[in-house]
């Protein structure tokens, strides 16, 4: 362990460990002792972890800014003398940022869950799983090597699986968690391949080593022996597959909307604020590697931009409140990816913008989800068509929700405005004008669907009077996190973010921090963006503030298109079709036939032959001790005779006598069996 001289940073390994202990204690020992001990312990663990991480953050951002610290490092696996898998704690600006985000949001969501999950039979299990997730996520963030990150990556997947399938007796939840697991596993396969490729050719797993220019140069020059492709773009894209899976980028996005089957705090924590940004984080972590290859960056950018637009379009048509938010998350994640994609080593504004947006998004999206949870808690329904006019029964929720909506829509003084503006600026600066246009469009769409959601839920008029009458404000444990989260949603944009977060090891690339700073707002970009946002809000106001037939009419007018969008472009169905009709029918079925008829068949044949033979032979096996004993003794006698005097006349005589004797006994036994045959049959009949 190398001491950095800073207490909190030195003890940063405690940050993931505490939630893990919490998980162990809550999961193993307080399962039966009610709600209060479980939630208290879990919150205690995560709270302590949060305090530690804030301490570390303070230490880092005041004293060590821009440095990469390794407070803990040990050798875990030695594949070969040169290829060593290390584990440890890596501290640089993005990991510190992420642990701040993760612990804080996680803590708030723990507090929120206390109220939200009240009365649920799986209450302690829920908190145990939340703790496990927090542990995994923090471990992921603090990972020192790509191997370690992979381990925590999978742990995150497992805890996500557990939490999505929390209502395990609900078939849709089970299906959702399976889907999430399978899709992310599938993506992780790419990650695994990528990391193996990197590790094999780069001869190391440590991030610091991998992102150093020497290694990147080395990787660039290496070519795969078989395909003749350069290792770098291939590994970058493979690793990006994993990141895309976790961050639900376009072809692998299908699990995220379904994952909303889990409890709402889970959606807020995992599928909005933390886990899904793991992909973004991974790309950011390996950014120098991506920056070195055009193909990698292009992939990140294009897929990000497409996902962002694609999800935003879908979100405009959905009615499930959580689904809208889920697609919104998709869209925003695409935004972040896009931002990473437009950044380069020379022009790393996109990187900072991505991280900035990640942070602000974590705040307001968590706030949105928690608000949605509060709404669901109040009306016991997910469907926006059942809601309406909820601003009066849920004043706090309404206020915080509005703040979040404004933030995500990019209305000027709020946090979303700044981060989004930075992304747009980055795209503009990177001269990716198409992407810039797409991002602009998405900004407008975002504002539109968010306010569609907001108006349908809180304004309009109550459609379901029964639910409306029973709706009431959530308890303090739920509204408190809302209020807390509303504060950064408003003010986070004012933080000079780029001062704190930028690409690590800048010195290597000869870029001074000063270049990066996003001085003020470029109103040529920010103005239209804000205008787009306001336009979206206005459109939503027109269509949804008062209930009218216009949305229906529009939907009718665009008939097939609306249907296409409403059904999420039939991506799920495509997958299903592909797996069922193509893979199952044309690949699996022949294999199955072969397996059943040729492989199994041969075994069956052998078994049947043996059975037949056995049936013939088994009459000599009486199951009686003394018979066996007799045979063994007879055999011993014969062997004894033969071994003793292999050549002598006497020996042979004796041996043959014994052999004859055995033969006689065998025949006798056989005859006996033949005579007694009816008896076992009778017994079988009796049984």
């Amino acid at each position: 362990m190398t001491s950095t001289g800073f207490w909190f940073i030195d003890h940063l390994w405690l940050v993931p460990l505490l939630p893990f202990l919490g998980f162990l204690v809550v999961g193993l020992f307080v399962q039966k002792s009610g709600e209060r001990p479980a939630s208290s312990l879990a919150i205690l663990a995560i709270g302590a972890s949060m305090v530690l991480s804030w301490g570390a953050g303070w230490e880092y951002f005041t004293a060590n800014l821009g440095r990469t610290l390794v407070p803990l490092k040990f050798e875990w696996l030695r594949f070969s003398p040169t290829l060593i898998g290390n584990m440890g704690v890596l501290v640089d600006n993005i990991s510190v940022l992420l642990i701040l985000v993760v612990t804080t949001i996680s803590f708030l969501i723990h507090v929120y869950s206390q109220g939200y999950m009240h009365g649920d039979p799986g209450y302690p299990r829920f908190f145990a799983c939340l703790n496990l997730f927090t542990f995994s996520m923090l471990g992921l963030v603090l990972s020192f090597s790509i191997l370690q990150i992979f381990i925590f990556w999978e742990l995150v997947g497992v805890s996500s699986f557990l939490l999505i399938g929390f209502y395990w007796n609900k078939p849709s939840a089970v299906a959702a968690c399976k889907k999430a697991f399978i899709v992310t596993r599938f993506a992780d396969l790419g990650f695994l391949l990528g990391l193996l490729v990197i590790g094999y050719y780069g001869k190391g797993f440590d991030f610091i080593y991998l992102t150093s220019p020497e290694t990147i140069k080395n990787l660039e020059q290496t070519r795969l022996p078989l395909l003749g492709v350069s290792v770098l773009p291939l590994s970058a894209i493979l690793v990006y597959a994993g990141a895309a899976g976790k961050s639900a980028m376009f072809p692998l996005h299908i699990w995220l909307p379904d994952a909303m089957e889990g409890p709402t705090p889970v959606s807020a924590l995992i599928h909005a604020a933390t886990m899904v940004v793991a992909g973004v984080y991974l790309v950011a972590r390996l950014f120098p590697l991506y920056a070195a290859t055009e193909a990698g960056l292009m992939t990140v950018m294009v897929i990000g931009a497409f996902t962002s637009l694609f999800a935003a379009v879908i979100a405009t048509t959905q009615f499930d409140i959580k689904r809208v938010l889920a697609f919104s998350t998709l869209s925003q994640l695409g935004y972040m990816m896009l931002s990473l994609g437009v950044a380069t080593m020379d022009n790393p504004l996109g990187f900072t913008a991505s991280m900035f947006h990640l942070t602000t998004h974590a705040c307001f999206k968590a706030l949105l989800f928690l608000g949605a949870g509060s709404v669901i808690h109040a009306v016991h329904s997910n469907d926006m068509r059942d809601m309406g006019g909820l601003r009066r029964p849920l004043p706090i929720t309404h206020a915080t929700f509005l703040i979040a909506c404004l933030a995500i829509a990019g209305v000027p003084p709020l946090s979303g405005f700044f981060s989004k503006d930075e992304i747009l600026a980055a795209a503009w600066n990177g001269e990716h004008y198409v992407v810039f246009a797409v991002a602009m469009l998405v900004a407008g769409l975002t504002a539109f669907y968010m306010f569609r959601l907001y108006f349908m839920t809180f304004w309009s008029y109550p459609k379901d009077m029964h639910r409306f009458e029973h709706a009431h404000e959530s308890p303090l444990s739920m509204t408190f996190p809302l209020m807390v989260l509303a504060v950064p949603s408003v003010f986070l944009g004012l933080v000079p973010f780029s001062h704190y977060v930028s690409i690590g090891q800048l010195e290597h690339h000869g870029v001074s921090i000063g270049h990066l700073e996003h001085h003020g707002i470029n109103w040529w970009i920010a103005g239209p963006a804000s205008a787009m946002g306001l336009a979206g809000i206005a459109l939503a106001f027109l269509l949804y503030f008062h209930p009218n037939g216009v949305p229906g009419k529009i939907a009718f007018a665009f008939g097939p298109l609306h249907k296409l969008v409403y059904n999420k472009f039939y991506v799920d169905e495509l997958y299903l079709f592909f797996t069922k009709s193509v893979i199952f029918r044309f690949i699996s079925a022949p294999f199955a036939w072969f397996d059943r008829h040729l492989v199994d068949g041969s075994m069956d044949w052998i078994a049947q032959t043996t059975l037949l033979a056995g049936n013939k032979v088994r009459s000599s096996v009486t199951g009686r001790l003394q018979t066996y004993l007799f045979w063994s003794i007879s055999g011993a006698v014969i062997l004894g005779a033969i071994v003793w005097q292999i050549g002598g006349t006497v020996g042979w005589t004796l041996a043959f006598t014994g052999l004859g004797l055995v033969a006689m006994m065998f025949i006798w036994q056989f005859v006996l069996q033949l005579l007694n045959r009816s008896e076992p049959l009778k017994r079988i009949k009796q049984d």
């Binding site: 006698v637 004894g640 003793w644 006798w668």
Partner: protein, 178 residues
């Protein structure tokens, strides 16, 4: 001379008792025969200057194992083999024949081998020698088998208790008397 006489008397006694063991229809009588055999064998040990073995034989075998067997004989209801079908004559004859052949081979083998004594005029083993041999960790020592045997015994005892100890506790008023 004396020893020879004793040997033949003992041998006859043991063999007669052994016959008793294997042929008596009453298990209890078999057990008596077994005791006689064991005592006779203890006598043979004495003839061969193995007093300690003789004492152990009587103490453990007669005093422990056979009493255990007798206990079980008393515990299980059918002491006599009356209820059993008689072991069929074929079985007996064939067994007798095989064993006769076996015995013939053994005797012939013994006869055709001349034993030469490795050490002459040595002292008979005393109890101390046994102790040293059993607990010695040297090359000639038997500490490992000794420990293994101890373990086996413990395991056997625990096993026996678990197997045999699963008895239904008598319940008050389980079944009314006639």
């Amino acid at each position: 001379m004396m020893a020879n006489v004793f040997f033949y008397i003992l041998a006859a006694f043991i063999l007669y008792s052994a016959l008793f063991v294997v042929s008596a229809h009453n298990l209890f009588r078999s057990a008596i025969g077994l005791i006689a055999v064991l005592l006779g064998v203890a006598g043979m040990y004495l003839l061969m200057d193995a007093q300690f073995l003789s004492a152990v034989q009587i103490m453990v075998y007669v005093g422990g194992i056979v009493v255990l067997i007798v206990f079980v004989v008393l515990l299980v209801a059918d002491v006599t083999e009356k209820t059993f079908q008689k072991a069929d004559r074929w079985r007996k004859l064939s067994a007798g024949f095989v064993l006769a052949v076996f015995f013939g081979i053994t005797v012939w083998a013994l006869d055709s081998h001349s034993f030469t004594s490795a050490s002459q005029n040595a002292q008979a083993a005393s109890v101390k020698d046994y102790g040293r041999a059993l607990l010695s960790t040297e090359k000639e020592g038997f500490i490992l088998p000794f420990e293994v045997i101890s373990l086996v015994l413990v395991a056997a005892l625990i096993g026996a208790i678990t197997i045999a100890g699963q008895t239904q506790a008598p319940v008050n008023g389980q079944k009314e008397l006639p």
